[in-house]
């Protein structure tokens, strides 16, 4: 294992010799994997920065603090860009990089074919650039691209074909990335028959199996319906069917954002806290639960939809509630591992041990704060999942308030924190602007605390999500807790702090990228200590991927088989809703009502 850049090792003559001679940072051991990880991170961080800038434009516009940048109709181009760049590209390019690293590290072998890896990266990037071009074309009247359809792109609103084609290419890129990791695993398996699958690879494989099953929904939606519709090959689609196919994918994608965070909380956070993972077997159980339960829950995004029988919604609700279990188990393991670390570091007392944790280390602080916020996000999610109480908050500002805690903090802040630890290892460069990195997680945490609590409360007052206007002439929103102007102020200040947080992160990464190699110790190493309870305690059946994939498919068939069958048998394109292109018709509307 790579001890060369360990603070302890480099402090000795032997360590310095090792550091000078045999370089053992990840980048030196696995140069191809390190390169692909760097490329993925580069795209991911760019998407984060652009998405964050769009975020502050929105936050200030819809709270009426500053409306000089965009018109209210352009707000939806900004919103589409913010959602797609952050929810799809920042998170999933990061995942692609982190999983490439984790697979190579835990299997102890470099990429089987660097050329193949670059091909999937190129396909993902090409798709992402096409999608971004279609979205940002919406700002320029002379460019025929329009894609103000938001990141849920519900038909029959219709974007430019480039948007759907780009999405499809990017999606295929993620499939090939998974194939790459599976290939690495199979080669390792060939050389190591009978051995337990290393934990990080186990997590990568279960996550990718979930992804293959769930992306089937969006692939059919885009390739069979939306792309042909936008090209004029078909005249109409059934909006309920396409929406259902979207949510078939739309909830598992949530776990696709979250699994890299869990991956980090389980395998890296315990070390950063000064300890080791509490239980390897429970970590495996958690990932298996996510694999089998992530997809048959999509109808909980459609509780308020007509055309879907209450029974199907009830099944989805029950599955959703059971999906809480792996997150509850994670909460236990993460806290227990941190406590173990803190006590190792000399902490004591019922709660006082928390003071012994390394809050000054940016990677630890970011992950721990992200985990804390995830607890709050989890509870607001339980409200969403409660089928009847959901009516009070459906499509209100409560919902983005919720997912800014989950994907916007649990995932995003963990990814940033992980970067502070991992980026030096895949570049061989010491993290620069360390002081900035130390402050950054707290800036994000405070910004999100302000913004999200206000969004939740505004949602309870009935303030809708996805709107450019703070005020409706015909509607007065009555706050249950606090006042509407106070909520707006918190959203504006919080949104500003979050954009600042993203900018600080980008500054650290840019400075590190441009730094010279060999300037100082890396401060980090990729050695991960053994869990307290190791894989030998885990039943072998947990590693039976075929079994769990089969169980997942059966559960999906139970939850989705009949509803989708009944939507398709009345004609896959019926009830027939003709496309409503964004942009064109809106201009006509403007001419009439303008």
């Amino acid at each position: 294992m790579a001890h060369a850049h360990d603070e302890r090792a480099t402090g000795t003559a032997e360590g310095r010799e090792l550091a000078a001679g045999e370089r053992l940072a990840f980048v030196d051991r696995y140069p191809a994997a390190a390169r692909v990880t760097r490329l993925c991170f580069g795209v991911s961080f760019t998407a984060l920065l652009v998405g964050a800038v769009l975020g502050i434009v929105q936050a200030l516009h819809r709270t009426n603090v500053f409306r000089g940048v965009i018109s209210s109709s352009d707000y939806y181009s900004v919103l589409t860009g913010h959602g797609v760049l952050l929810a799809l590209f920042f998170t999933i390019f990061f995942l692609s990089g982190a999983f490439t690293w984790g697979t190579a590290r835990s299997l102890g072998r470099d990429l089987p074919s660097p050329r193949f890896s670059l091909a999937w990266f190129g396909l993902q990037l090409g798709g992402a650039v096409a999608v971004a071009t279609a979205i940002f074309g919406g700002f320029v009247g002379e460019i025929p691209f329009e894609a103000d359809v938001l990141y849920t792109f519900y038909a029959p609103l219709q974007a430019h074909p480039l948007f759907y084609a780009g999405l499809a290419a990017w999606l295929v890129g993620t499939w090939l990335a998974g194939a790459d990791w599976i290939r690495s695993y199979l080669r390792w398996r060939g050389d190591n028959p009978g051995e337990r699958v290393p934990l990080q690879t186990f997590m990568v494989l279960t996550t990718m199996l979930m992804w293959y099953i769930s992306t089937l929904g969006v692939a059919v939606e885009v390739l069979v319906f939306l792309l042909p519709l936008s090209l004029g090959l078909i005249d109409a689609v059934d909006p309920l069917l396409t929406r259902t196919l979207f949510w078939f994918f739309g909830h598992p994608v949530v776990y696709f954002w979250l699994m890299p965070a869990y991956f980090a909380w389980y395998t890296i956070l315990p070390k950063l806290a000064g300890g080791r993972l509490f239980s390897d077997p429970l970590a495996r159980v958690v990932f298996v639960l996510f694999l089998i339960l992530s997809t048959p829950v999509g109808f909980h995004h459609q509780y308020a939809d007509p055309g879907i029988a209450e029974g199907f919604k009830f099944v989805a609700m029950t599955n959703t509630m059971f999906l809480l279990l792996p997150s509850f188990l994670t909460a236990f393991t993460v806290v227990a591992s941190m406590e173990y670390g803190a006590r190792n570091r000399g902490g004591s007392g019922y709660f006082a041990w928390m003071k012994a944790l390394p809050w000054e280390k940016p990677a630890f602080a970011g992950m721990a704060l992200a985990g804390l916020m995830f607890a709050a996000g989890g509870f607001s999610g339980i409200v969403n999942a409660g089928m009847n109480i959901n009516s009070l908050v459906h499509n209100t500002l409560w919902v983005p308030g919720h997912f800014h805690l989950t994907v916007g903090t649990a995932s995003a802040l963990t990814m940033m924190a992980l970067s502070y630890w991992l980026y030096p290892q895949v570049t061989g460069k010491r993290l620069q602007l360390y002081g900035v990195a130390q402050v950054q997680p707290y800036v994000w945490f405070i910004g999100m605390a302000l913004m999200s609590n206000a969004m939740h409360r505004a949602g309870l007052a009935g303030v809708p999500r996805r709107t450019a206007e703070p005020q409706y002439e015909q509607v007065s929103f009555e706050a249950v807790l606090g006042s509407i102007p106070e909520m707006r102020l918190q959203i504006a200040v919080g949104g500003t702090l979050l954009t600042l947080g993203a900018a600080l992160f980008a500054a650290v990464m840019l400075a590190t990228w441009f730094a010279d190699r060999g300037r100082g110790r890396l401060r980090v190493d990729s050695h991960l200590p053994e869990p307290i309870s190791g894989p030998e305690d885990a039943p072998r059946v947990l590693d039976n991927f075929k079994l769990w994939a089969a169980v997942a498919v059966v559960l999906v068939a139970i939850a989705y088989g009949f509803p989708i069958f009944s939507m398709v048998t009345d004609g896959p394109f019926d009830p027939a809703a003709p496309p409503v292109p964004v942009g064109v018709v809106d201009v006509a509307f403007g001419a009439v009502f303008g």
Partner: protein
């Protein structure tokens, strides 16, 4: 498989909580009788719901039972008919079923500050029933993005005293 005692306690507690959550939702659906939006509204034409048998000219109609009213609302970019140009008027002390359908893209029909909150999906008719005890005025917002002027799509629901209400006039309006 070895599971630490604390973790077992936690696991059982978590499972207990999950069952409790499912129990409260089930209670709401079964015992308290909270009716979800579901498939009972049936299908309508995706571009002109009024041509369908299960839909009527937009407006307020007296229902089959006393003090029960049916409100047919057509949602189209960027207005509720009725609701936006003219308010929807229903009497106090009544039970009202809203029948909502879209004539173009996805919309939302949310009566702000209440749990009347449904999607309007082209081709489907949503039905939501609510009770109104007191005269009041509510705002209606479209809470699903429907295009560049989505933020202009709003309306008003007026719950008026019984004496001021005339259903026939509302239907023909």
């Amino acid at each position: 498989m070895h599971v630490h005692r604390f973790e077992r306690v936690w696991l059982v507690a978590a499972l207990g909580m999950i069952v409790l959550f499912i129990g409260t939702v089930t209670y709401g659906a079964v015992a308290a009788g909270y009716g979800m939006v579901d498939a009972e509204g049936g299908q309508v034409d995706a571009t002109d719901p009024t041509t369908s048998e299960s839909f009527r000219e937009p407006g307020v109609y007296e229902g089959n039972e006393s003090d029960h009213y049916d409100v047919y609302v057509e949602a189209r970019r960027f207005a509720f008919i009725p609701g936006s140009a003219d308010p929807i008027r229903v009497p106090a002390d009544s039970t009202v079923t809203f029948h909502v359908a879209s004539a173009d893209v996805l919309h939302g029909f949310e009566v702000a500050g209440t749990n009347i909150n449904t999607m309007a999906i082209p081709g489907q008719k949503a039905m939501v029933t609510a009770e109104f005890d007191e005269p009041a005025e509510y705002g209606i917002v479209c809470n699903e993005y429907c295009g560049a002027a989505h933020h202009d799509m709003a309306g008003t629901l007026e719950v008026v005293p019984q004496s001021e209400f005339n259903a026939t006039a509302e239907a023909s309006a």
